[in-house]
């Protein structure tokens, strides 16, 4: 099989965002090319693999067993002085995925829907004519190629260049990205709960997480806000934590990664859309980006099909992509971004006070909104401007 000269849509990057774009567009009858620069989809992972059950399930009629490593029943948050806030239920509220399998399966689903999929194939630039994106230039197994398309979708992750090539500035300021490191640790006691540790000594303007993967394993990682790094690097903080907490664990895998905690970028232009991390769609407070990548990918695939049918792939035509994500991903990002700005300036005393105010309450709903409502209820010192965002409508 070889690359065709022209497709309706070219998707750059086969993470969850790109594969869902390609799958959706192909199901709508478009001619789709999905390219991935890595030789293996999904590896190495750059993720702690946690997703909320409710937000994940809505995208898939069937959740395959092999996608899921662990079903988790709750989250435990530890404040700097060790006070525990637990959000849990008797049933599963979330999943820890097996992304090496999940990501690859999504790409297979795109292929099954009719998309051409090529790995070890990297986009190096866009073809731009009269201010209109017209295709992709790239390198495949050492050979340069040019392929035309009516629409190019940048699903190229945190390191995205597709937007920049089209003149959209997606550069992140250090205050808008978490720098992360993670171990897969084996041989440690774990429960089916996700743990989160807060504190300026543990993870400045970030957090340490331990997400269970099976019976005696966990993804243990850290994210630290770029603007707060100085002297010690995230890797040092992680090692300190692991030495204290998991002395007898064995480190099976090491990964690094950046997590955008910014406002979304501009996500469309003439002949171009951005999805997932490339569009900076991760949640600025949780750092979660899998479901937003999936959701934006579905929207982009749908909009591509509509605009190609209507023969308007201009910026004006593709504007409806933003309209679609604004009401869901956008609204959540608005809240979470302001919440992040509040939390990163909170000293440990403030974090402890918040934890003390709700540590006796039984919380079952796993959502930032639900947790914030409890906190706002008990802590009148939370700025009214922020509290307003979480009011019940």
């Amino acid at each position: 099989m070889s690359l065709k000269n022209k497709y309706d849509v070219i998707v750059v990057g086969a993470g969850p965002g790109g594969s869902m774009t390609a799958k959706t567009a192909a199901e709508k009858g478009l001619n789709v090319l999905l390219i991935e620069k890595r030789q293996e989809i999904g590896s190495p992972i750059r993720c702690a693999e946690g997703v909320g059950k409710k937000s994940f399930k809505k995208f898939f009629p069937v959740i395959k067993d092999e996608w899921i490593s662990t079903k988790m029943v709750g989250v435990r948050i530890y404040s700097p002085d060790g006070t525990l806030v637990e959000i849990s239920d008797n049933r599963a509220v979330g999943y820890i995925l097996e992304r090496k399998i999940f990501d690859r399966d999504l790409a297979c689903m795109a292929a099954d829907a009719g998309a051409d999929v090529f790995t070890k194939t990297r986009a190096t630039d866009l073809i731009i004519k009269d201010n209109f994106v017209k295709g992709v230039e790239g390198i495949r197994l050492g050979e340069s190629f040019k392929v035309e398309a009516d629409i190019v979708v940048g699903a190229d992750g945190v390191e995205s260049k597709v937007g920049r090539w089209a003149g959209i500035n997606t550069t992140l300021k250090p205050k808008d990205i978490e720098s992360g490191a993670e171990y897969l640790i084996s041989g440690i006691p774990v429960e089916d709960l996700c743990e989160i540790y807060l504190g300026n000594d543990i993870a400045p303007a970030g957090y340490v997480w331990a997400f269970p993967k099976g019976e005696n394993r966990a993804n243990v990682g850290i994210g630290i806000l770029g603007s707060k790094i100085g002297g010690k690097i995230p890797f040092d903080y992680l090692n300190e934590f692991v030495k204290k907490k998991y002395k007898n664990g064995k480190i099976i895998e090491v990964i690094y990664g950046g997590i955008p905690v910014s406002r979304p970028a501009k996500t469309f232009g003439n002949g171009i859309m951005l999805v997932g991390d490339a569009a900076r769609f991760t949640d600025p407070i949780t750092g979660g980006g899998i479901t937003n990548a999936i959701e934006s990918g579905i929207y982009a695939g749908e909009v591509a099909a509509e605009c190609i049918k209507e023969e308007d792939t201009s910026e004006e035509g593709l504007k409806k992509y933003e309209k679609r994500w604004r009401s869901t991903i956008g609204e959540e990002n608005d809240r979470s971004y302001l919440l992040k700005e509040f939390f990163i300036n909170l000293p440990d005393g403030g974090l402890n006070a918040l934890a003390h105010s709700i540590n006796k309450i039984k919380i079952t709903e796993l959502s930032v909104k639900g947790l914030m409502r409890e906190l706002i209820d008990k802590n009148p010192w939370i700025p009214a401007k922020l509290a307003k965002l979480f009011k019940k409508k």
Partner: protein, 61 residues
């Protein structure tokens, strides 16, 4: 000039995201830095989770 310790780098692309000059490229399991376009802001050095990047000695101060 920014130098890369390739034995440390985990090709995660975090440095690429903060480079205002678009001077860094993540090529699969390999990063490249284009010294010509680098504006020596050091964002990449500070953000790298593992400390794989350094300002190298030849850099003009």
């Amino acid at each position: 000039m920014i130098s890369i310790n390739r034995y440390k780098c985990g090709y995660c692309g975090t440095c690429v995201a903060v480079c205002p000059a678009g001077a860094i490229e993540l090529v699969g399991a390999w990063i490249e830095i284009d010294g010509e376009s680098c504006v020596e802001c050091n964002n990449c050095v500070k953000i790298c989770p593992i400390g794989a990047l350094e300002v190298s000695d030849e850099s003009k101060k």
